[in-house]
């Protein structure tokens, strides 16, 4: 039976369900107990499961991640809460040199079934050290799965899939989405990792996005539809592995690919998609592949500056319009 939940409530429900289902699942991080996390995504779980399974930690990011790694190879399935992706950089070594490599280095003797949660993105005045979108880093690292839910349904479905995954999953929630509401079916199957969501169908242009940018893209697709431009909007949901088939099949049909990301454009994951599509479909393209992303600047605080670093529906619309106009 479907219910309306916020993105944060959906994640809370998913963790609650997985902890009931599997006694090996536990969570650790700062401020999970009393207040239930920054967005209430752990609300009430410490009271329900006790302080040994919802663990309040000191501000020790290296140890928070390392505890997850050690506990994962020792038979548990930790959910490691790193708060913001910006702070997860304090545990980059433990993530890359340990979590991602253990299974491989040790020839499969051990698995590292952990979920590293770290909220990404701008939330309005969060500024340079609390706004970064770091997915490109993790996609580049062998051994890591990277998931980025954009809706309450997907946060419920992907978090359960991530917890059940036997490999480390970097789980990037978007902090601007915490309070958005949407339908969630508690009994739905987990969302398969690696499967994208085709949000709208269209034959003129394929618009690929993920995370918070899905909302801006949906607005743009609607506006473009009014102009008679059919947009196929794809929300990747998982960045590694990414749903290459769905994207390339779509682009083969539309002949046009536009990628929109909140992260810095230079060296972002959009470049990987563009490079793959350019190689696989170079003779099927009806317009150059375009990418939209943040400029290569830290995220500024003041509204007009912050806005100057955002990808807007207007930019998406104008870029898409150019692409369809050019050489069709």
């Amino acid at each position: 039976m479907t219910m309306e939940l916020t993105y944060a409530e959906a994640a809370r429900l998913a963790l609650d369900q997985e902890m009931e289902r599997d006694p090996r699942v536990w969570a650790l991080g700062e401020d999970l107990g009393p207040e239930g996390g920054l967005a209430g995504q752990y609300k009430g779980l410490q009271a329900k499961f006790g302080p040994d399974r919802i663990v309040d930690t000191p501000i020790s990011e290296s140890m928070i991640m390392a505890a997850g790694v050690g506990a994962a190879v020792a038979g548990t399935r930790p959910v490691v809460e790193l708060r913001f992706a910006d702070f997860a950089m304090c545990a980059a070594d433990e993530t890359v040199n340990q979590a991602a490599k253990i299974r491989y280095m040790f020839n499969g003797q051990a698995r590292v079934p952990l979920v590293a949660r770290q909220a990404v993105g701008m939330r309005g005045g969060t500024a340079a050290q609390h706004s970064q979108s770091t997915e490109a880093w993790w996609v580049h690292i062998p051994g890591l799965v990277v998931a980025m839910p954009a809706t309450p349904r997907d946060n419920h479905g992907l978090l359960r899939a991530a917890i059940r995954c036997d490999d480390p999953v970097i789980y990037l929630e978007h902090k601007a989405l915490w309070n958005i509401k949407g339908p969630v079916d508690p009994d739905a199957e987990p969302v398969a990792l690696g499967k994208a969501d085709r949000v709208t169908r269209g034959d003129d242009l394929t618009l690929v996005t993920w995370s918070g940018m899905r909302l801006e893209c949906a607005k743009a697709a609607e506006a473009l539809a009014k102009q008679g431009i059919g947009v196929e909007l794809i929300d990747l949901r998982t960045l590694w592995p990414w749903d290459r088939d769905m994207v390339l099949d779509s682009v083969a049909r539309t002949g046009r690919l536009l990628i929109a990301q909140e992260a810095v454009k230079i060296g972002g994951f959009g470049a990987e998609i563009a490079a793959e599509a350019a190689e696989a479909l170079w003779d099927k393209l009806r317009a150059p592949i375009r990418r939209l992303g943040a400029p290569r600047t830290p995220v500024p605080f003041s509204l007009p500056l912050e806005d100057a670093c955002r990808v807007t529906p207007e930019q998406i619309v104008s870029t898409a319009t150019e692409m369809v106009a050019s050489r069709s």
């Binding site: 990011e61 050290q129 600047t297 007009p304």
Partner: protein, 328 residues
């Protein structure tokens, strides 16, 4: 009325600064709750005696670094509250041109190396500044302000070892307010806490009532004298309390009303205690009232100026980032 003692005169001017900080923080809080200031604001109310008592013993050429709760430290070191308020409002002539915001205020003209959004990083950077002082053979000291939550981060512990082995002119100021966001630091801090740790690295210092301005001032004077004499690093451990929640997005529900009342009472509040001392020294009620109203007026004018000031041009988002290589 008898002329004031030197000490009373000194305390009077320190009270002036404390009042300005208090008014600034209350106004910043109102502006944040009211939505005029974006993001969140971490108020320093209740801890003023520490920033003021410490900075009273520093020169403009000395360095300080701060954390997320940095307004008080900046004002105490000599930053302009009007420019700071403009920064909170994201205005073009704010301390950082609106790029930084509340958590990223710096004023290098007075040796304020920056507030910091990453717990403990301000402290490690200050240690680096202290090392520059040594490399350049300057007559300066560096001071880091950090909280009791920061002491559990590895980098801060590395900083203690570092400052000692190189015998740097470095003062570590730990502001122990009992909490790290919603977590009681006592629950996540092992052993003797900061003091025991600092001593285990061979660093000496003093423990003071952080709400006792005169005690902070006197202890800092002793420690800084030792630093300037080339005695190597020192610490100041100051017990205090933040009157308000962690920040303007925090409910503060994890604290009992009783605890809050105890700490905000006149016998604990650093400003009330300083006022009481001054009255006992023969300072007139009128003079005290004058200081209060001056501070109020100053901050009201700061808010007015901040409201009236122009926002930055969007193009400013692309300046002051790496000279070579365009940001977009």
């Amino acid at each position: 009325m008898s002329p004031l003692s030197n000490q009373a005169a000194r305390v009077l001017s320190m009270l002036r600064t404390m009042q300005i900080i208090r008014e600034f923080e209350e106004a910043a809080g109102r502006a944040s709750y009211g939505g005029e200031v974006r993001g969140s604001v971490h108020q320093y109310v209740g801890q003023e005696a520490i920033a003021v008592g410490v900075c009273a013993n520093l020169r403009p050429t000395d360095y300080i670094s701060s954390n997320h709760r940095g307004h008080g430290h900046s004002i105490a070191k000599g930053a302009d509250p009007i420019a700071m308020m403009k920064e909170l409002y994201g205005k073009a002539d704010g301390t950082c041109g609106g790029k930084g915001g509340s958590m990223h205020i710096a004023d290098f003209s007075i040796g304020m190396l920056g507030a910091n959004g990453v717990v403990a990083d301000g402290a490690t950077i200050a240690v680096g500044a202290a090392q520059a002082i040594k490399v350049l053979k300057q007559d300066r000291v560096a001071v880091a302000f950090f909280g009791d939550g920061a002491i559990n981060r590895g980098p801060l512990m590395e900083a203690l070892n570092w400052a000692k082995i190189y015998s740097l002119p470095m003062l570590f100021v730990c502001e122990h307010n009992g909490y790290a966001a919603t977590t009681r630091t006592a629950d996540v801090t092992a052993g003797g806490g900061f003091v025991a740790r600092a001593r285990s690295f061979g660093i000496e210092g003093e423990e003071v009532d952080g709400n006792d301005l005169l005690a902070v001032d006197a202890a800092t004077e002793r420690i800084v004298a030792r630093l300037r004499a080339g005695g190597g690093p020192g610490f100041l451990f100051a017990t205090t309390y933040r009157h308000h929640p962690h920040n303007t997005r925090d409910t503060g529900n994890y604290r009992t009303r009783d605890e809050i009342e105890r700490w905000t009472a006149a016998d604990k509040d650093p400003i009330a205690r300083t006022v009481a001392w001054l009255l006992a020294q023969g300072v007139s009620k009128a003079e005290i009232a004058g200081i209060e109203s001056e501070a109020k007026a100053l901050i009201e004018s700061a808010v007015a100026a901040a409201r009236a000031a122009p926002l930055p041009e969007p193009a400013a988002a692309f300046t002051d980032v790496q000279d070579i290589g365009a940001p977009r």
